[in-house]
Amino acid sequence: FFFLRKLRTATTQPQASLNGDRNSSGSKGKGNPFLVPGATVATIAMLGALHARRMYSDKKIEEARESGIEPELQPDVKAKFLNMLPLRSISRFWGHLCGKELPVWVRPYAHRAWARAFHSNLEEVGLPLKEYASLKDFAIRRLKDGARPINSDPHTLMSPVDGTVLRVGELKEGVMIEQVKGFSYSVSSLLGARSLLPLMAPPAHEDTSCQQENKLSSKSWWRISLASPKLREEPSSPPSPMKGLFYCVIYLTPGNYHRIHSPVDWNVLVRRHFSGRLYPLHSRAIRTIKNLYVENERVVLEGRWQEGYMAMAAVGATNIGSIELFIEPGLRTNLPRKKLVQSEAPQERVYEPQVMLKKGDEVGAFNMG
C-alpha cells in the first residue's frame, strides 16, 4: 500500500504540474527519498515474477525427478536468445577481469566471497588466500596434500574431477550418449570424425564365417595402428575378452576444484581441439539447448590403457572457456576467431612420443576466460 500510494503520488505530480500548481507539486516531490518511478517498479516486478516462475519451474522438475520422472528437452526462448549473445567474447572479458591482480589486503575478502557464493571448501585450499593474486588463480587453485586421496586399487578407474555424475552407462549399437530424455548426441560428434573410437569390438574368437565383421573391425583398428606402432601387434595377440564401451559425464559447478587428473595409467596418442560456442552447461541449459556438448569449445584426449581405448573430453562453458593442458602448455582455447564463419575441422595433434600419464597425474584445468 505504501508503494502504491507513493506511485499514485508520482503519477499525479505531472498532472498537477500541467494544472499550473508547480510550486506545490515540486515541494511534495522534492526531497522524498521513497519516490520510485513507475517504470522502475514495473521492471522490478517483472524481474521478480520471472525469477519466481523460474524457481517454481525448477522446483516442479526437482519434484518430478524425485518421483522418478525424467525431464525432457524443452527448447525455450531464452535458449534462442543465448544463441545471439557473443558468449566467447563475454567469457574472454570475464577472464580478463578476473585475471587482474588484486591488492594483497583485498585478496582474502574477494576469495572468501567467491567461496561463499559458490560453496567452495576453504579448508582444503593449498595456500593462504593472500597468495592467490587474482580470482582466476584462486579458481584453479591446488588443494592441500592429502585432500583428494587417490584410490590405489589397480582394478579401479577413478574420477578425474570433482563434480556431479550426470550420466553413466554402456554405449550400445547407436553409440549415442543421452543428453536429456528424448535427445542424444553421437560419441563421434563429441570426439571428432577422425576419432580412434573402436566402433566394432574385436571378435572374441577367430571365426571365418564372420568375414564382414572382421572387415569392419580391421577398418577401425587400421586407424589405431596408424596412430600407434605399438598397437600393430594387437591382432596377433591371443584372444582377449570382449571389450564394451562405457561412458561417464561429470559436471563441475563453479565452486568445484577445477583441475583435471588422469583416471588411470594410460598413453595419450592424440589431442583434438574443437573451437565452438560457450553455452552454459548447468541443468537448465541441458534441458533447453540441443547438442550442448557437441557445440561447445572442448579439448579431447585419446589414447590407450590396459583395457583398450580411452578418451577424455574437457568441455568448456560460459566464462570457463580457457582449457589448459599441462601436458601441452602451448595450447590456447577460446581465442578470437579470425574468420566470421566457424571452421568445422578441429585442430589435431598426434603426440610423438606418446604422453604417458599415471593415475592421478594432473592433466589440465578449466580456466576462466
Binding site: L281, G308, V315, A317
Partner: protein, 40 residues
Amino acid sequence: STVVLVFQAPTTSPSSEFSFCVEKGDKIQMGEALGRWHQQ
C-alpha cells in the same frame, strides 16, 4: 564445465565384468572410484 570419459572395459565374462560404482546424480571427488573390474 564438464568432463566426458569414454573407455573400453571387459564385459563378456561375469568374473571380469566392469561395473560403475556411482549412479546418476551422485556427487564425486577427484580420486574416488568411478568403476571397478576384476582380474581374470
